[in-house]
Amino acid sequence: MKYMLIMRATDEAFAAMGDIDFTEMLETIGKFNDELIRAGVLLAAEGLDDAAEGVVVDYSSADPVVTDGPYGETKELFNGYYILNVASKEEAVEWAKRMPMTGAGFKTEIRRVSTIDEFPQDNVWIQKERAWREATGQL
């Protein structure tokens, strides 16, 4: 069985994250990730890029309607995910339009997955994580 741990935060909690020292946050998350690896349970872990960079495809009308994120309602259920390797955001949107589960209420939010290269490479926890990712083919 595999589970995804979906990290969700209220707007206030998300804003408060700005007050935490970034290096400290990396260490906290790094240690937690390391625990998961030690326990043999971590298969893949990804952080999502800024919601403002996201896109929403709404199937409520006959043709899918594409709007820029972030979306207004925050009570939607996040009930699955795909990771696609595509060349551009537009290509990802195109694949989303072809999703088989469509109709009123069905939406796909498209978010870029950030890569380890975007983190400070001199951070010891980032270096550890890079070594693990290289060893397990997660890069």
Binding site: M1, I37, R38, A39, V41, L43, A135, T136, G137, Q138
Partner: protein, 433 residues
């Protein structure tokens, strides 16, 4: 808290933490078997109090404290008879809850003493080596590993292996007695012994996975939870011994084999043969992880061992778009290498299948006939089912039918039996096998 919820919470914590708790207690007491008993006592106490009082904020610390307190109580009881233990009890009791001092937070004291992050990895590794010690019978190694490293209860192990709980308990008791009688120390074996002992650890994980991925009896073809536990154990071991290529090879083999699980059974739980599997259902991320682990084993440039060769075979299947487009020549070579490294009739049967795919059934039949003549695999359905398949392809229908009937008579798994029956039906259209 609901009683069932409480028990489930205990079970979840236990599955995650048991290895580290038993390991820490073993380092503390110097005795593996005592540590296992203490940990089980702590677990029993948790099962009583957590559902009643709620799960403590630091469950692992709670279990450790209880285990440590029981250890001190035990040493005290034995102290009257043994001065050595009296000295030990004093030493261990210093600053601890049972010594009469009154620390503000007993959980933290236990953690400081036992939860040494620099030693936890060594504790878990030592635990694996002790649980898989060659002095134990194979079934004892499996039961002990699932119990102390996997954190499975005797009931869970019994369900996984379809044996009575009492049998599992007896195996664990006997294994612990054997370890105590042989005075097996709680330690990572010295470098000279390491390689030999590692073979036993790898073997145990492999046996657990095999039982989960191809049930030897019963009606379910695959017991995913058991296979998944073996994969987890292999990942833990790979994390603990990153420089041992054969550990990565084993992990690769398990990942690449498990990658096919989603396609291996149909909607009714019936087995689906490799050639009929929908390869789109194979777990791509598991394949990626498996290939990465295999590449890591290969980078050591020490040659592939028995798990590495099997993983390389599994990789050939994983990357092939279809049965026809599989690199069967490479698979034949890999089976030949495997046969030299670990000669076994089952390897020969698999080689015969690969030869049949690469060069046709006529080239493969002599390999199977030779095994038959040597009286190999006399109780297994494997040989007659492969022989039957080869004969079908050669158009020797009557002989094929007889072989398939022999295979059915020997097959213990109901799901696999129905596949064989269907093959006979296809041979004799309109009749019932």
């Amino acid at each position: 808290m609901d009683r069932h919820e409480g028990r489930a919470a205990v079970a979840a914590v236990w599955h995650i933490e048991s290895a580290r708790i038993v390991g820490a207690l073993a380092r503390y007491t110097g005795e593996f078997t005592l540590a296992e008993d203490l940990a089980q006592e702590a677990l029993a106490e948790a099962l009583v109090t957590w559902p009643r009082d709620g799960v403590p904020r630091n469950p692992a610390g709670w279990l450790l404290t209880v285990g440590r307190r029981r250890a001190i109580d035990g040493f005290r009881r034995r102290a009257a008879l043994d001065d050595r233990y009296a000295a030990l009890a004093r030493e261990l009791g210093e600053g601890g809850v049972a010594a009469g001092s009154d620390p503000a937070d007993p959980m933290r004291v236990a953690e400081q003493v036992l939860w040494d992050p620099d030693r936890i990895d060594d504790d878990v590794l030592a635990l694996m080596f002790v649980a898989c010690h060659p002095v134990l019978l194979p079934e004892g190694r499996v039961a002990l590993t699932l119990r102390v490293i996997g954190g499975l209860t005797s009931d869970e192990i019994a369900r996984a292996f379809l044996v009575p709980t009492a049998t599992v308990q007896a195996r664990i008791t006997r294994a612990k007695k054997t370890l105590a009688a042989a005075r097996v120390p709680f330690e990572i074996p010295p470098a000279a012994e390491r390689a030999g002992r590692l073979i036993s650890v790898l073997r145990v994980i492999y046996v657990i996975f095999t039982e989960g991925s191809s049930a030897s009896s019963g009606t379910d073809l695959i017991r995913f939870d058991l296979a998944a536990e073996a994969q987890r154990l292999a990942r833990v071991l790979a994390r603990l011994l990153p420089d041992e290529p054969e550990v990565h090879s084993l992990l690769a083999l398990l990942e690449l084999t498990a990658a096919r699980f989603p396609a291996r059974t149909g909607p009714e739980g019936e087995p689906v043969l490799l050639e009929d599997q929908d390869r789109r259902r194979w777990d791509r991320s598991a394949i990626r992880r498996g290939r990465a682990a295999l590449a890591r084993a290969e980078r050591a440039r020490r040659g592939l061992g028995i798990y590495g060769l099997q993983a390389a075979i599994a990789e050939c299947h994983a990357v092939a778009p279809s049965v026809a487009d599989t690199d069967w020549d490479r698979i034949v070579l890999l089976y030949e290498a495997l046969g030299r490294l670990a000669p076994a009739p089952v390897v020969e049967v698999n080689r015969a299948v690969a030869v049949a795919m690469a060069r046709g059934p006529a080239a493969a039949l002599p390999i199977v006939d030779e095994l038959e003549a040597a009286g190999e695999l006399a109780n297994s359905h494997l040989l007659p089912s492969v022989r039957g398949e080869l004969l079908i392809r050669l158009g020797r229908t009557d002989e094929a039918r007889a072989e398939l009937h022999r295979a059915i008579a020997r097959c213990g798994n109901a799901r696999e039996r129905s596949v064989l029956e269907r093959k006979i039906e296809l041979l004799d259209p309109g009749t019932v096998a």
